[in-house]
Amino acid sequence: MAAADSPSAALRRDLCSRGIRLAGKMRADVVDLLDAYVEQQGLDASASVAAVEGVPLAAVERWDEQTGTQRLLQNLAAYRAFRALLAQMLEEQREQLGEADAGLGRALAALLLQVSAFAYHLEELLRLESRGIPGEEEGDEEEEDGPPPPPRLSLFEQKLRGLGVLRELAQWAVRSVRDLRQLAKPSPATGAA
């Protein structure tokens, strides 16, 4: 109880609450953006897209058995990946359409901001968990050290990948809400983790 009343607990609760609402809004915006994106790119809404490379899948086994830190780390990894992918999509979008469809570009930019904001929420929660935050540079270095960057995709492939990113982001938004709600619960499991 004492912990619940401490400033850190209040901050955690606030971060969770805000993160939940941000994830919810992100989900709603992604859904709206998906419709606009499919229509704009001339894609079929029912088209099946392969899993986006570099993005952890939202669906996970034994989700309820995960610790809070695990949830936060997985979320942070996913949203950092989304941030990079959305930035790439935004760049491609500008290259393709220029200023012809500013609305879609603004929506992508807004979504990118939300993803960034959510990532910031996750980092703050991890700090409250007294856990180190994995550096992005490390990941980048790993990526640089790892396999070379994928070959440049065709335009259609870019569109399909964008569709896959948005769908996965929508999935992750739902999962993130659930994760943060789980974190917001003052459960002893969280403390043990």
Partner: protein
Amino acid sequence: MFSRWNWVACGFYLMLNICSPDASSGLVQSCGHIIPESPVLALGSNFTALCILNESCLDFGNIYASQIIWKIKNKVVPKEQYREINRTVSSVTFNDTSSLATPLTCNILADGQIEQNIYGITVTVGLAPEKPRNLSCIVHQRSRFTYVMTCTWNPGRHTFLDTQFRLRYSWPEEIFPDCVPKDVNNSCTVTDIQFFVNTEIWVEASNALGKAESDHLVVDPIDIVKPLSPQNVSVSSEVVPTVLKLFWENWISDAVMTLKFNIRYRIVGDANWMEVPSEDTASPRTSFIVQGLRPYTEYVFSIRCMKEDGEGYWSDWSEEKTGITPEDQPSKGPPIWRIIDTSHSPASWTVHLIWKALKPFEANGVILQYEVTVRDKSSLSSPVKKYNVTSTNYTLQLQEGTYEVTLIARNSVGASPPSVLLIPASNSKAPVKNLRTLPKHDKLWVGWTAPNSYVLKYVVEWCLVSSSSDCVIEWQIAPGDVQGIDLEGIKPFKCYLITVYPLYADGQGSGQSVKAYLKQDRPSKGPTVQTKKVGKAEAVLTWNHLTVEEQNGFIRNYTILYKTIDGNETVVTVDPSKTEYTLSSLTSDTLYTVRMMASTDNGSRTGPDFTFTTQKFGKGEIEAIVVPVCLAFLLMVLLGVLFCFNKRDLIKKHIWPIVPDPSKSNIAQWSPQVPAKHNFNSKDQMYPEGSFTDVSVVEIEADDKKSFSEQDLKPFDLLKKEKSTSEGHSSGIGGSSCMSSPRQSVSDSDEGETTQNTSSTVQYSTVVLNGYRDQTPLHVFSRSESTQPLLDSEERSEDHSGGADSTPQRQQYFRQNGGQDETSTDRPCFERAKQITHANEGDLVGFVQLQISGQSSQPLGLGMEKNTQEPALSSVLQTCTEGQTVRPETVEENPLSVDEMPKSYLPQTVRQGGYMPQ
């Protein structure tokens, strides 16, 4: 010589320097420069500038720092502010930069006192920016997905410099582009706002003198949202007549934020809004049922929303939507009252039932009809009468008695509770007491003290009192537990008659009335005063009351103001009930001006002036003077009469000398035929009509002229004079004496010779009065042939006094004897005189128309005149003689008369009134 050329060269060099705009970098080098170059200075600070001369110019032009002059905009800076630092540097110091202006120039006074400019700088003075204060931000929802954040702040004082403001915001790990305001310096709008992340917001202000930063505001933009108001609001009615259901749509999705609402509503036409309790609408929703509404009432609704947790701002109110609640049955019966008209007969009433239409919130719908039920309470057997009425009044003919009237209003849903009015046979119950009024702003409060008995309710009647129209009664019902109500719709300056009736369960109290004004003013006109009666020292003034429309308030008094032309004004206050007043102690025969003033509580108004003059004499004064004067006059007359009566003998002697009575003369006594007594005045007896029967003409010798005394001739002279003045015209007397016709006159003139023959003798005649128709004649006149003169005294007196009386008699006499000349004698004498005049026109100078009256025989004088002076006129004169003037012609033409006359030449006995020649 060298020095002069040196100075000329120096001046030329300086000119080149000055005229060259780009001297420092161009071909021509400047002779100096100022440090600092174009500074920006803080207002109020001190400032020092240095002017540094180039060494090259020193050698060439012999110029030194001591020759430097500083100028501000062509105004020389006082030398006290200069300082010569060395041979080539001069400084100037300003303690307050506010005295600075642009440009600040460094000049040098060369030989010949020629001032040359070395260098100039632009000085900018201003203030450093203040710290922006009161930063606040609000996120406006522009559309379903669009939000913009507008931040405002207080930029602080004016800096006089170009100051840039920047709104900066960032996330902990992301810095967003700055928002630079356009055209303003106190607000900026950010378009890419992301919710659910704490955003740090601040403002930076910077200019050449510094930079300032506002306090940092950390806020999640979702907490400062002003959402768009709900859209597509609609209202629908439910089955229940007191509820309406509202529907609307929200612009913002629950994923972004959940909302709470405010719902306000009002009745159409009413400006006051009511609100649904906020706790009832504190949760997200898109509909709400508003309860507690009035049936059949049109309401206006409006909704607004904000973030559910109360963070942020309320949206604007939505557009207004109206809805009408369903009808319900009337909630109460209409207030009912009656006016009873008993003018036809006290036992037969004309009862006007009047009631007020229910107010909308009482009617709860459209009133379709009213049901009036009348029950005669004094007769249980009489049936209950029902009437269906659509108007708000009904007139009944009832016999005097006690009735119970019930009124019900119906609409489409049902009937109202009944309103009951008891109409008693008489208003015998106790009335209210202490009825009074009090104006309250635009309402008139009517108060009373309740009677001791329990009162069901009160009826307050009022009407506008008017002199030109009937009192139109308005009324209002007050509950029995109040002792005063406010009357609305009362006009100021109008008189109202207010009556209060208490209604009891078993009867009605008599009405108590009071007159009242909501607001009083001074009268609109003053009374017109005039006098009813004006006396010597008093005047009765009258006036008419002002009409109630003119009064504008209660007339508290009248004031009479009167004065003479030059006197002081006297003021008299008169009771307002009076219309007459008597001014007393006035000055007689004086012009007064009077006017009258009517006063209310709020002022007075004076009527027109009226002037009157008091009388000179008082009542009875003239009579008191005239009556004694008359009495005195009468007394004097009476005394005079008495005096005359007492002195009548003396007076008589003077006025009427004693005329000897011939009858008492010795001759009378001598004549045996004369009666002892006879009456001279009784002419009828003396000369009864037709008593003269014969006239005898006696010719008298004209030669016997000497037998007439001089006195006897005088009268004829006078007559002659008179006739000469009225020549050709015969007087009335003369006319009456002209008994002869013109023909006779002509014949007279023709026979003038005969006349001349006869006129030589004095003619005496004896008139014998024979009895007419065998009556005994009273008088007998006979012409005497005596030449003895007549008694002087008798003739004179007879000529003057008795002539007039005897004239008519003589005329009669001539008519009788001239019967055949009737036609001619009818003609006026003057005509005949004219004819005569015609004939003897040249001889008229001596014409004399003699009028000889009396019983004397004037032919004596006439004949004498004719004979002695104008014999030619004798005939004319004869025709114009009168009375016993005898014309010879007539005598000649009436031989019968002559024959009948006793031709005696002796004096005849005169029986009565006659005389005998002496």
